[in-house]
Amino acid sequence: MLSEIARVEILMTAGPMLMFLFVLELVRRRQLREDYSLLWLATFGVLALLSLFRDSFLYQVANLMGIAYPPAALFVIGFGLTLLVLIQFSLVITRLSTQNKQAAQHIALLGARVRELERRLETQEQK
């Protein structure tokens, strides 16, 4: 059995890498659009790099942030990036609901117009 340190290091490095590849695969299969995948790829990419180069990279970043326990910096950064993804979702939902509203309004206006045209056509045919 590997030591605790070794296990967590493997988990923290391999996890983000696998997720990164998973997101790429979703884009390849066209189940996820490129523009919505970018923030996810950045999130997992940053987490993977930080874990991979912890001596040079993670420790320095943690130091810069004033975090005494370097692995905690991973959580803070991962959480911050996840929040960005969530804000992006809210933006996309807002845009979709605005477009959805406009589409519904046009359907209603067109529906009334179609009925009116049908009615005029009928009266014309009767003449």
Partner: protein, 261 residues
């Protein structure tokens, strides 16, 4: 569907006389089958020359059929969008077909259609772009539950302060608008709980608002959408929307207005 009166208007304009303003009464309705027929009938009595459009906001009852049966134009929204977006659909209709005046009357029977001519008279004889029927200018026996009254007092104090004009009933949906205001609302209108916020954006767009006293009834039938939880959400949403609307770029209302000479 509206009369195609543009050619008629041109010929009257050439002969020197001004044509009657084309008026559209917009009735937003969500599951109002119990009261809607009566409202449409009363609107026809009060303003026989006006066209009536019912915006069926995704009702699950017979609202659409009843509106059709009473001879209104019906705009069926495919699903419920909320009162603001429903009204905006009505304003878009008014703009697309060149109406001079739009009147908003609720489908639940709260507003008395026989007071529409008073709204129209004030709209046409003053410099107002929007005339709002207010429950609270004169005491005509309308009883508001205490908590709701408190909410309305807070809103009207806030809005009066912001628009520097005493507004007594900013939540009233009994309104008449001229063409400038119609165009403005067709382009930009809040999606839900639109009334208080729109008073502020009207002012910012340079549209003049005037209130006149009206009598309001308790609703004839159907379900009020107001619950305590929603009232809380209403207050927070409306106040936030008003404050944020102040941070936006000043909107512009343009266009000509029909006036009685």
């Amino acid at each position: 569907m509206p009369r195609q009166s543009s050619e008629i208007q041109v010929s009257i304009a050439r002969s020197g006389a001004r044509p009657e303003p084309r008026t559209l009464v917009i009735i937003p309705a969500y599951n109002e089958e119990e009261s809607l027929g009566r409202v449409i009938r009363q609107v026809k009595e009060a303003v026989p020359s006006a066209d009536i459009v019912v915006i069926n906001d995704g009702s699950t009852d017979a609202t659409s059929e009843i509106a059709e049966g009473y001879g209104a134009i019906v705009l069926d929204l495919p699903y419920n969008l909320g009162i603001g977006s429903a009204m905006q659909t009505g304003f878009m209709f008014a703009r697309n077909y060149g109406y001079d005046i739009a009147v908003q009357v609720d489908g639940d029977g709260q507003h008395d259609p026989h007071e529409i001519p008073e709204l129209l008279a004030v709209l046409q004889s003053t410099d107002a772009d929007v005339v709002i029927g207010s429950r609270y200018i004169e005491d005509r026996g309308y009883i508001t539950p205490r908590l709701r009254r408190l909410g309305i007092v807070i809103l009207s104090a806030l809005i009066s302060l912001l628009v520097r004009q005493h507004i007594t009933d900013p939540t009233s949906g009994f309104r008449a608008l001229n063409r400038r205001a119609i165009d403005f609302c067709a382009g930009d209108y809040p999606f839900d709980y639109p009334e208080p916020e729109s008073v502020v954006t009207f002012r910012r767009a340079g549209l003049k608002v005037r209130e006149i006293p009206v009598t309001m009834n308790p609703r004839y039938g159907g379900q009020s959408s107001i619950t305590p939880l929603r009232s809380g959400y209403y207050m927070i949403k409306v106040i936030m929307a008003i404050i944020i609307s102040l941070l936006r770029q000043r909107p512009q209302a343009v266009g000509e207005v029909y006036h009685v000479e």
